[in-house]
């Protein structure tokens, strides 16, 4: 997926770019509305993350201006009070909004929801051996068999899929899967991994336990 991030705060922008890159997305960063116009003229994006307070204007005005010729979904990043802002942003053509500071898991979830709702966007399928995983649709196909995965199963499988053959510790998985607003134990990870194993059994994708280190995804027959 190719994202455009329009955000004037350099540190925050870097962090977001890095984080989205870890998930395998290509992210361009524009620090102003003028920059954003240039990037948009040069490339095709799947999703735009737009800050509302920018040095050369209000992101919402930009949104209202460019909505007519811009088919790309937009998620507005706002630091303002929801009470006064939310309605304005959505009415001017944003697909969703997220309040700063945001949880990356939540940002991810919202991006996914918007992309799924908008449909039509470029498919983002990942090949896992013989199987094909579509994280957006939440399906795993192998030949004629196809299974629908639930949200957390999708996210867990996506983390494994993007790090094929690497060992992922329980801690790493935990940080990717859960927001920090609830205390989660590493046992919960074992439960989720166990459930995912059962769900994808026989699809040609395996999650192996590497004792003392974590888990690793393998494709093909054991």
């Amino acid at each position: 997926m190719r994202y455009l991030l329009v955000e004037d705060n350099q540190e925050l922008a870097e962090a977001v770019v890095n984080r989205l890159a870890l998930d395998g997305h290509a992210v361009d960063h524009a620090a102003s509305l003028a920059d954003a116009e240039d990037w948009l003229a040069a490339a095709q994006y799947d999703l735009i993350l737009l800050d509302v307070m920018l040095p050369d204007g209000d992101g919402r005005d930009f949104l209202a201006r460019s909505r007519a010729h811009l088919g790309t979904p937009v998620i507005v990043l706002t630091a303002r009070s929801q009470v006064s802002d939310r309605v304005g942003a959505l009415d001017q053509g944003a697909d969703d909004y997220i309040t700063k500071p945001f949880d990356f898991s939540e940002l991810e979830a919202r991006c996914r929801a918007v992309l799924r709702r908008r449909g039509g966007a470029a498919r983002n399928e990942i090949e896992l051996g013989d199987a094909i995983f579509d994280p957006l649709a939440g399906t795993l196909r192998n030949g004629a068999t196809s299974i629908d995965l639930r949200n957390r199963e999708i996210r867990l499988l996506e983390v494994f899929a993007r790090h094929k053959g690497q060992i992922l510790s329980k801690g790493q998985l935990m940080d990717r899967l859960f927001s920090y607003d609830a205390e989660v134990t590493e046992n919960a990870i074992e439960v989720y991994v166990g459930r995912l194993r059962r769900r994808i059994g026989g699809m040609g994708v395996r999650i192996e336990t590497v004792r003392g280190l974590g888990y690793r995804m393998e494709t093909g027959e054991a």
Binding site: S81, Q82, V87, K100, P101, R152, D175, F178, D181
Partner: protein, 457 residues
């Protein structure tokens, strides 16, 4: 506000006072004119009567003779039923008539002019006309006084009649004048009332200047009204801008720190470091959530002072809020079930969405993964109930009402980030709408039911 009385009433009273004065004046004038006219008529007839009698004076063998013509008295009878007296005398000798009729004061008037006098006879007011004639009796002319008198009952009754008529007309004039002045007062005050109506028809947040044609006298009022609205608009905008700016200033650096901490967590190798970073992120979440909720709370308190109500479809309101929280719920594989009745509500949509979001956010936050949150709406006793049920741990020990108070959190919320303001905001919004928030544990099963109750419109 101290009222200094109604301009309309004052104007009406003033005009009515003038009308009353004019009515009395005209009544008095008509009455006195009528009396004068009646008196003059009587005088003319009396004059004609004495002249006619005087015409018949002649001398015969040195004596003054006369014939009393019938017409002289019949003409007096024509104007009224009053009694008539007469006397013809030379000097002190009464030739004919009433001897005791008072002698005219100016008995010797001459020149053939009729002399009038008002006096009293046998207890009644009479009008006397006297004419002096010189009649040749023998060789020398003898002055003869002819006097005819009439009581004034007729004059009095005519003038009384006319005065009554005048009084009647005056009262009628007065009544017409009063209603016309009331009408005039209302008409001239109409533009003022129209402006007042135009202002009160507006919603509390409609602060556009008034642009309507107004009489010149009202132009200064309109100008100051518009200036006041402009100032009010500016102060509201600057308060909102301040809250927005404060939020921006607080949240942006927090967002940066949080993002960096998350990156650091990724690359951290050591478990102890990771644990510290997680705690740091939780603390950041807690403070940013509190800052956000505090600002929301300020905004809500500010807006509940005057609600910007509009007619909204309940299903749209709930649908929009639920759609906004769907991704958050999906992260925990929580299903959101919505059952809606088709109804319209009169609410401030921004505030109601905020209230609903806070309640739903709570339900999702305290729900274990793989459960469901149900949102149902119903109409009970003319009130709209929006019930949000979760399968979480319930409200825990302690009084439930405490939970809607500022910064109060339940006894079983350890380990979950929260500010203790969400339910306060929801409650404040509902109370501002004339409704309430009810929190209870579900009977016979795990979970909480939060019900948002709105008076139906």
């Amino acid at each position: 506000m101290k009222s200094t009385g109604s301009i309309g009433r004052r104007l009406t009273l003033l005009l009515a006072g003038v009308a009353a004065l004019l009515s009395v004046l005209s009544w008095w004038m008509v009455t006195s004119l009528a009396r004068q006219a009646a008196e003059r008529t009587q005088d003319n007839v009396l004059a004609a009567s004495v002249t006619t009698i005087a015409e018949t004076l002649r001398s015969e063998q040195g004596e003054v003779r006369l014939e009393l013509p019938y017409s002289a008295f019949s003409m007096l009878g024509a104007i009224s039923e009053d009694r008539v007296f007469y006397r013809v005398a030379t000097g002190d000798t009464v030739l004919t008539g009433y001897e005791d009729l008072p002698v005219p004061a100016q008995g010797q008037s001459s020149g053939g002019r009729v002399f009038f006098e008002t006096t009293e006879f046998s207890g009644e007011e009479i009008r006397m006309a006297t004419i002096s004639r010189l009649v040749l009796a023998g060789s020398q002319p003898v002055p003869v006084n002819v006097t005819v008198a009439q009581t004034r009952g007729g004059v009095a009754s005519i003038s009384a009649e006319l005065s009554q008529l005048a009084a009647f007309l005056s009262v009628a004039f007065f009544l017409v004048a009063v209603s016309l002045s009331a009408f005039a007062a209302r008409t001239s005050l109409r533009p003022l009332n129209e402006i007042a109506a135009a202002v009160s028809r507006r919603g509390p947040s409609d602060l556009r200047p008034l642009r309507r044609a107004a009489p010149t006298e009202l132009a200064p009022l309109m100008t100051s009204l518009n200036r006041l609205m402009d100032r009010l608009g500016q102060s509201i905008r600057s308060a909102e801008d301040f809250i927005a700016e404060a939020a921006h200033r607080i949240r942006t650096p927090l967002a940066t720190v949080r993002a960096q901490a998350e990156i650091a967590l990724r690359s951290a190798r050591n478990d102890e470091q990771k644990q510290r970073l997680r705690q740091m992120i939780r603390a950041l979440d807690e403070s940013s959530r509190s800052a956000g909720q505090l600002l929301d709370h300020a905004m809500v308190t500010y807006r509940t002072d005057d609600l910007v109500r509009s007619s909204v479809r309940l299903s749209d309101l709930i649908g929009k809020t639920v759609a906004g929280l769907e991704p958050t719920a999906a992260m925990k594989d929580i299903r959101l079930h919505v059952e809606m009745i088709p109804t319209m509500v009169q609410v401030d949509p921004v505030l109601m969405e905020n209230a609903l979001r806070n309640v739903l956010d709570n339900a999702i936050k305290y729900s274990p993964p793989d459960t469901a949150v149900t949102i149902t709406s119903s109409e009970i006793d003319g009130q709209i109930h929006i019930a949000v049920k979760d399968q979480g741990p319930g409200l825990g020990e302690g009084p439930v009402d405490m939970l809607t108070q500022r910064f109060q959190r339940g006894s079983n919320t350890q380990g979950i980030v929260g500010s203790g303001l969400g339910l306060t905001i929801a409650k404040d919004v509902l109370v501002a709408h004339g409704g309430r928030l009810v929190l209870e544990n579900l009977q016979g099963e795990n979970g909480t039911c939060a019900t948002l109750i709105l008076p139906s419109c």
